[in-house]
């Protein structure tokens, strides 16, 4: 029986921002639409991370424009060019910055801008522009795929650290770093980033893995929405890292149910981010999640989210070994017995 007279506090803090609940729409193309950002707020999200501004995309688009304007020019006396010059300068980050401002005007929940890059360069000043445009915080999405075998793990890690330092040098708003799970020592990496000034760590990025089209023998981009199984990896590492860094932790990937959010909190996350669930069930699902969380918390007599945050992190559980090798053996063993 739920005691309706009790108030349950869903609020949380993330990157120093006060959120009414830990439900955050993660960075995805969905957030490029102002209407969607409004709907996300209306559905009750605590914050929203906008889609990413890609370093390479801006450069690539300029270079392609330059290439095709040049290559279609000077071919014949009749056609000194085949395309007009653009009437207006091509957009660098302007469109994205405008979107930030529009979002800030449209909604009250915090707007976290997302910047996607791999190497320090001229583009890091986009971070400052994002701050100027009104972003409440920045999520740095380091989407780096080290295909070159000559690059060592150390170099990759240093690149991450350098990047975080460079971005921190540009802005005064908090900066979270979104990471993939592929580090030899994630805990150590988290500490390095923490030391470099990251205000938050977002675990984990879902890399879009290319698929094979067997009919055409082609490698094709493939987008598979996440499922709850993917949550486990995130829970695991948030539980492990929790307490060892100053930075706030955010869980992203595999959040589909209210219980997923609750597990995230218990592992030690300040917020739980989601996209796939909203794509599958609509943005209004956020509202359902919040309600279900209240129900669960009511049933289980929790007063607040803060109360449960980190309650099942590695150091908070009676058998921390469960997060270590022993547990792995146990799982395998249990599988073998089936």
């Amino acid at each position: 029986m739920i005691d309706l007279s009790r108030t349950i506090d869903l609020s949380t803090t993330y990157l120093g921002l006060k959120l009414k609940n830990p439900l955050v729409a993660s960075s995805s193309p969905m957030c490029a639409d102002l209407g969607n950002v409004r709907r996300i707020e209306d559905a009750g999200a605590g914050a929203v991370v906008l889609h990413s501004l890609f370093e390479e995309q801006i450069e690539l688009e300029s270079e392609e424009l330059d290439r095709f304007l040049t290559e279609s020019a000077g071919l014949s006396p009749e056609a000194t060019t085949h395309l007009p010059e653009p009437m207006h300068p091509v957009m660098g980050p302007e469109q994205y910055l405008k979107h930030i401002s529009q979002c800030k005007q449209a909604v009250k929940i915090p707007i976290i801008a997302s910047l996607n890059g791999t190497t320090p360069g001229g583009w890091v000043h986009y971070a400052k522009l994002m701050q100027q445009a009104g972003a409440d915080a920045l999520e740095l999405n380091i989407y780096y795929i080290p295909v070159d075998p000559k690059v060592t793990a150390e170099q990759v890690e240093q690149q991450y650290v350098d990047l975080v330092r460079a971005i921190k040098g540009e802005v005064t708003i908090p900066v979270a770093v979104k990471l993939g799970p592929y580090f030899s020592s994630i805990g150590n990496m988290a500490k390095k980033l923490d030391a470099a000034g990251a205000d938050g760590l977002v675990l984990f990025n879902r890399f879009y893995q290319p698929d094979y089209d067997l009919e055409n023998m082609e490698v094709v981009p493939n987008l598979i929405l996440s499922n709850s199984y993917e949550l486990l990896l995130r829970l695991h590492w948030i539980a492990v890292i929790y307490g060892s860094v100053k930075a706030d932790l955010a869980l992203t990937g595999g959040v589909h149910h209210a219980t997923d959010v609750i597990k995230s909190m218990m592992a030690g996350a300040k917020v739980a981010m989601m996209t796939s669930a909203l794509l599958k069930r609509g943005i209004s699902f956020l509202d359902t999640l919040a309600t279900e969380m209240l129900v669960w918390m009511g049933e289980h007599e929790y007063d607040s989210i803060k109360q449960m945050q980190g309650s099942m992190s590695r150091n908070a559980v009676p058998q921390p070994k469960a997060f270590e090798r022993a547990n792995y053996m146990k799982v395998l063993g249990s599988y073998a017995m089936r």
Binding site: E59, T70, S72, H82, L83, P86, M87, H88, G122, M217
Partner: protein
């Protein structure tokens, strides 16, 4: 404002004219035609950017469907009281003539700006002369000519002022290309200058005369014999007053700017005895020559004609120095059969009417931009010294037929001391021309020097060579001719060295800059003998840079233009090095800034790194080369190709005499095969083990360089060792051999074949049955294999099924190695058409890309088969192509009808059986056609023995008894716009013609201007903000007739469907229309993905495939067959692969999004309509 305080700008003649036109008009109607298109482009761009005229309002610029349409719109706008103008050239001006009579007859002030160009006669020419404006001289327009870029700006304004006062409309003309495209430093007139010249009372008077229901009048009546004549004479006072009005405007202009023009300007010795009379850019050449000759003590001069109509005899006579004994009048046009060319006749009349007796001769020069040089001018002056100089002469050619040409010393030069003369050889599309235009700007605007740039292109759209001619110097430049004594020569492509004798233009002691993959120590041995020889003989200073290495380093890819530009400045020393680099960077920012900051930064990096890679070569004292510049054609080429074509290929066409030219524009077929251009760095190589022999690569190859044959094993006798052959994978030809062969020296390296190849290696999927490999190492080997391949007999067509792509590959293409762009989307359809019907085709080809790659000299891609049959091809005009093709059909049908009548009449003589067989022949398939050919052969043999008039008659038209396939080919500019009226009529005629529309969705040939085929949201010229309206559904409009076969095809969407549509269209005994999706460089993406984009166009529903066959109705079926599946791809996933769409999305995202939404709605709505049509019940 003093002269010196006006800004100096470096612009071309077109921009100069458009600048004044845009400042002084309210309505501008435009239509693209070379070389005037840029004027319309400028006006459209400025209005799109919101630039205002001198009254502070943005002129309305509207693209019309033809020049006739533009003139009509201008006539209407003028009658509506707006200040209105247009720009055109050549055939475009001819189309305006009817309206021009009206505009002049109604005394309506306007200025038409004309980049004067040749008119198509024995051949089309896009180049400059006065044929077009001379054809309009009886319209009643005044004619005012300009000779240089500065004069274009000045005269455009003088004309505008004079037209308002005189009420006589003006043609303001200047030489196409030589002036319209010459970039020069000029003083820019400012708005206040323009305002000072334009009398507002006259503007108001013009408005007051306009049509208005508030004070109505009737204009444009019809008049009878009683009064028309008098009415025509009523305008005389206006024409009589015009010369004075123009001179007054010139005087007023002089007061403002200090530049004083006269109706006839004399320049030369005050006591001149010999004078040349000339107008246009040639006057500049004569001016320069006169200056040199007078300095040498000769008594010569030039009269520059500015106001040609109305021709003021009084002013003209006054301009001739009294000392003059003889005059030579030079006309840049030809009027066959006349007593002389127009200017000559006017001069003779003027002298005669004034009672002035001088010796006068007239001659022609410079037709179609034929070079007109000081040497030729000297030749004319020398002729005047003779006691009996040649009249009606030509100069600049060798006329060995009617001996009109003057001899002259080609080595005479009047180039001004102290002028830097630089030539740059670049590859079309490598940015060389753009960088050189910037160099002219830099020198023109950063220094006190005068600067001039002129750019020459060859006639190929792939692998074209561009030559930039740049002059800089402290003295004004009158050199309106190409450089032939260069102080600096730069070669931007190493491979040009073996193709082109570029150092022939280098003067002694000149500098030679070479972009070379070989460093200063190793480059010498890599040079052809002739190059080494000239470097030594002329004592050239020789520099190398590996531009590609620098480009790669600095993220520029293969772009070397700014790198080479930096080297030019460093070596030439035109500017101090640091200053030059700063100026180059400024120009980069200005030119590429809109394309994005990263582009600017990479160019900066390239400039910074260039000089450390520039090296002077220590030239060895002797020739070491073991090879030389290649001959233009192989020794095996036929006589005409050796004697004529080879000269043109080698760049020596100017030296061909008149006798070498066919008299009526008839040229031999099959000549592209001799022009081995070797432009591809990589070519496809066949992996015979992996190949499934599907024939897709053969189908899509735009240049017909991949061929397949199935043949008897015995044919392999004598094959080169490396010649590949495998068992044929045909059910009925298993015992035979199959070879897929690439023509290594003709390939342009587009990679479409590789992209389409479906056979991938099981162990490494990137390896396909056809793969790109470096060309040079296999060139010789594969050339031998290609020659051997050609010697193998063609596959017997009677065993092939033309509906199968696999079989089509074995049919000989009768269109090969055209000059179309690398990866062209049009030519695969053209080639397919010739494979299927080439031996019985007549082609009417609208002017445009397909007529240029189809018929631009030096070589012709249409060819004949082993029996000597092939497509008979002709290009009439742009606008009349449907009618032209229908005329061919009418001729064939009439001759067929008459032939059948004669066969019936002569049945008893030729044998009743043969006669009946001929008359009743079923020619619905190839077997039937071949059988009829055999019958006609027998008929001819029989007729040869009969000596009657009827027999001879029948013999002369017997070929018409065999089925002919008439094809009308053109682009969307023709079919959707200028030729639509004719096309519509021809489709309605019921005649058996086949129309192939190569739909690139823009006017590709003139540089990508929007047509009614341009899709919504795409950026094109004249639609720089994204085309707001949707694409016209030409196919559906034709379907509406119910009697026309219509197909919309896309080879990349469904190749089998494409082939079927061609066969059905041809089989349909009535008009057929095929609209073929043709990817184009004007779409702005890598053409290697052209077929993928075609597929995406189909899958997105943007380009639904369908066939409408009226014959099906007779079989109780629905005539409308929708042949593609329902859209399964959002439109954005198709369009945003192309720069024409992304450019808007990146520069104006809101508008792009709005247009995309509408375009997506277009697609959805149209799909529903098509679906409905395809599901209609058949009654």
């Amino acid at each position: 404002m003093s002269s010196s305080s006006r800004p100096k700008v470096t612009i071309d003649g077109n921009e100069a004219a458009a600048y004044i036109a845009h400042q002084t008009n309210e309505v501008i109607a435009i239509y693209p035609i070379t070389p005037s298109s840029n004027m319309g482009e400028w006006a459209d761009q400025w209005s799109a950017e919101g630039k205002t005229n001198i009254w502070g309002t943005v002129p309305t610029v509207v693209e019309m469907q033809s020049e006739g349409g533009a003139a009509g719109a201008i006539h209407g706008a003028l009658q509506g009281g707006a200040l209105s103008t247009t720009f055109t050239a050549s055939q475009g001006l001819l189309l305006m003539i009817p309206n021009m009579y009206k505009i002049a007859g109604e005394l309506t002030p306007t200025v038409f700006h004309i980049a004067a160009r040749a008119i198509a006669a024995q051949a089309l020419s896009i180049f400059g002369d006065h044929s077009d404006v001379m054809s309009a001289r009886s319209t009643g327009f005044a004619m005012l000519g300009s000779a240089s870029v500065q004069e274009v700006m000045d005269t455009a304004l003088i004309a505008q002022a004079a037209t308002l006062e005189s009420r006589i409309p003006f043609i303001h003309f200047f030489d196409g290309f030589r002036t319209s495209h010459e970039v020069a430093k000029v003083e820019q007139l400012q708005a206040d200058d323009i305002r000072a010249m334009i009398d507002m009372d006259l503007v108001e008077a013009h408005r007051a005369r306009a049509m208005s229901p508030d004070h109505p009048v009737v204009r444009g009546t019809a008049q009878n014999p009683d009064v028309y004549f008098q009415g025509r004479e009523s305008v005389n006072p206006y024409y009589l007053a015009t010369p004075t009005i123009v001179q007054n405007a010139m005087d007023k202009f002089a007061g403002i700017t200090g530049r004083h023009y006269h109706l006839f300007d004399y320049f030369g010795a005050p006591d001149a005895e010999r004078v040349i009379i000339i107008m246009g850019s040639g006057a500049e050449v004569v001016h320069e020559t006169v200056e040199a000759l007078v300095a040498a003590g000769e008594k010569v001069g030039v009269i520059k004609v500015r106001l040609y109509r109305p021709f003021s005899i009084e002013h003209f006579i006054a301009a001739i120095p009294a000392s003059v004994k003889s005059l030579a009048v030079l006309d840049r046009c030809k009027e066959p059969g006349a007593t002389g060319e127009p200017l000559y006749c006017d001069v003779v009349t003027a002298l005669a009417e004034s009672g002035v007796s001088k010796k006068v001769i007239g001659g022609r020069y410079g037709l179609a931009s034929k070079e007109f040089t000081p040497a030729m001018v000297k030749g004319v002056f020398d002729e005047l010294l003779k006691s009996k100089p040649k009249n009606h002469f030509t100069v600049g050619i060798v006329d060995d037929v009617t001996h009109t040409s003057l001899a002259y010393d080609p080595n005479f030069s009047s180039e001004v001391e102290g002028t830097v003369r630089a030539m740059f050889y670049g590859l079309g599309a490598d940015g060389t021309v753009g960088a050189n235009k910037n160099s002219v700007k830099i020198i023109g605007e950063e220094t006190d020097n005068f600067a001039q740039g002129y750019f020459v292109y060859d006639s190929k759209k792939s692998g074209a060579i561009t030559t930039s001619h740049l002059r800089f110097g402290p003295k004004p430049l009158h050199s309106s001719y190409l450089i032939n004594q260069a102080s600096f020569v730069a070669c931007h492509q190493f491979s040009f060295l073996e193709r082109l004798d570029m150092l022939k233009s280098a003067e002694n002691g000149a500098t030679f800059l070479l972009n070379s993959p070989f460093g200063p120590d190793e480059v010498w041995d890599k040079l052809p003998r002739k190059v080494q020889q000239q470097i030594l003989d002329k004592k050239l200073k020789f520099y190398v840079i590996d531009g590609y290495e620098v480009a790669k380093h600095t993220g520029m890819g293969t772009r070397i233009n700014t790198i080479m530009q930096t080297c030019f400045f460093a070596i030439s020393g035109v500017l101090p090095r640091e200053e030059a680099i700063a100026a180059i960077k400024y120009a980069i920012k200005k030119t590429y800034g809109r394309r994005g900051e990263s582009v600017v930064q990479k160019n900066y990096a390239a400039v910074d790194e260039a000089l450390s890679h520039l090296h002077e070569v220590k030239v060895p004292g002797k020739i070491t080369a073991l090879f030389d510049i290649r001959p233009p054609v192989p020794a095996a080429a036929p006589e005409f190709v050796q004697k004529v074509t080879a000269m043109i290929i080698a760049g020596d066409g100017d030296n061909l005499p008149v006798s070498a030219m066919p008299v009526d524009g008839t040229y031999p077929m099959s000549t592209t095969q001799w022009e081995k251009r070797n432009i591809a760095l990589e070519i496809p190589e066949w992996d015979q083990e992996l190949c499934i022999q599907c024939g897709k690569c053969v189908l899509v190859c735009p240049h017909s360089v991949i061929r397949a044959k199935v043949y008897d094993d015995s044919c392999l006798k004598g094959a080169p060792e490396s010649f590949k052959a495998v068992p044929a994978r045909w059910k009925d030809m298993k015992e035979k051999k199959y070879t897929l062969q690439v023509a290594p020296e003709d390939c342009t390296g587009c990679t479409l074949c590789v992209q389409i190849c479906p056979a991938k290696s099981k162990t490494e999927v990137k390896h396909r049955a056809i793969n790109m490999v470096a060309q040079p190492p296999i060139r010789e080997r594969e050339a031998a294999n290609w020659d051997f391949f050609l010697s193998i007999p063609e596959t017997d067509r009677s065993v092939l099924s033309p509906a199968q792509v696999k079989d089509v590959q074995l049919m000989q293409p009768l269109f090969e190695f055209s000059g179309a762009c690398t990866g062209c989307g049009e030519t695969p359809y053209v080639k397919l058409m010739t494979q299927l019907f080439g031996d019985r085709m007549m082609i009417a080809n609208a002017t445009g890309c397909s007529s240029i790659y189809g018929g631009n000299l030096p070589t012709t891609p249409y060819c004949s088969n082993g029996e000597g049959r092939g497509p008979a091809w002709n290009n009439s005009l742009f606008e009349d192509n449907a009618e032209f093709g229908m005329g061919m059909r009418l001729a064939v049908d009439k001759q067929n009808e008459y032939g059948r009548e004669l066969v019936a009449r002569l049945a008893s003589v030729i044998g009743d059986e043969l006669a009946q067989a001929i008359l009743n022949a079923d020619q619905s398939n190839e077997a039937g056609i071949f059988a009829q050919r055999d019958r006609v052969k027998i008929l001819r043999e029989k007729l040869a023995g009969i000596n009657t008039a009827e027999a001879r008659d029948l013999n002369s038209i017997a070929d018409a008894l065999v089925k002919k396939s008439v094809w009308i080919v053109g682009g969307d500019g023709w079919a959707y716009d200028i030729g639509y009226g004719g096309l519509d009529h021809v489709l309605a005629s019921g005649r058996n013609v086949n129309v192939l529309v190569l739909d690139t969705e823009v006017y590709s040939n003139t540089g990508g201007q929007a047509s009614k085929s341009t899709p919504r949201g795409a950026v094109a010229k004249f639609a720089a903000g994204g085309k707001p309206a949707g694409k016209k559904d030409l196919a559906l409009m034709a379907v509406n007739y119910g009697t026309v076969y219509v197909a919309r095809i896309a080879m990349g969407g469904n190749d089998m469907h494409t082939v079927k549509a061609f066969l059905e269209a041809e089989a349909f005994n009535g008009p057929s229309l095929i609209i073929a999706y043709s990817h184009c460089i004007a779409h702005g993406y890598d053409m290697a993905y052209g077929l993928d984009q075609q597929k995406a166009a189909v899958n997105s529903g943007y380009w639904p495939l369908f066939r409408y066959n009226p014959d099906l109705a007779g079989q109780g079926k629905n005539s409308f067959q929708l042949d593609s599946r329902a859209p399964n791809l959002p439109l954005k996933d198709y369009v945003y692969n192309e720069t024409r769409y992304t450019m808007l999305a990146k520069s104006n995202p809101e508008e792009a999004q709005r247009l995309l939404k509408l375009a997506q709605e277009d697609v959805t709505t149209r799909w529903k309509l098509y679906e409905h049509l395809s599901h209609q019940e058949v009654k």
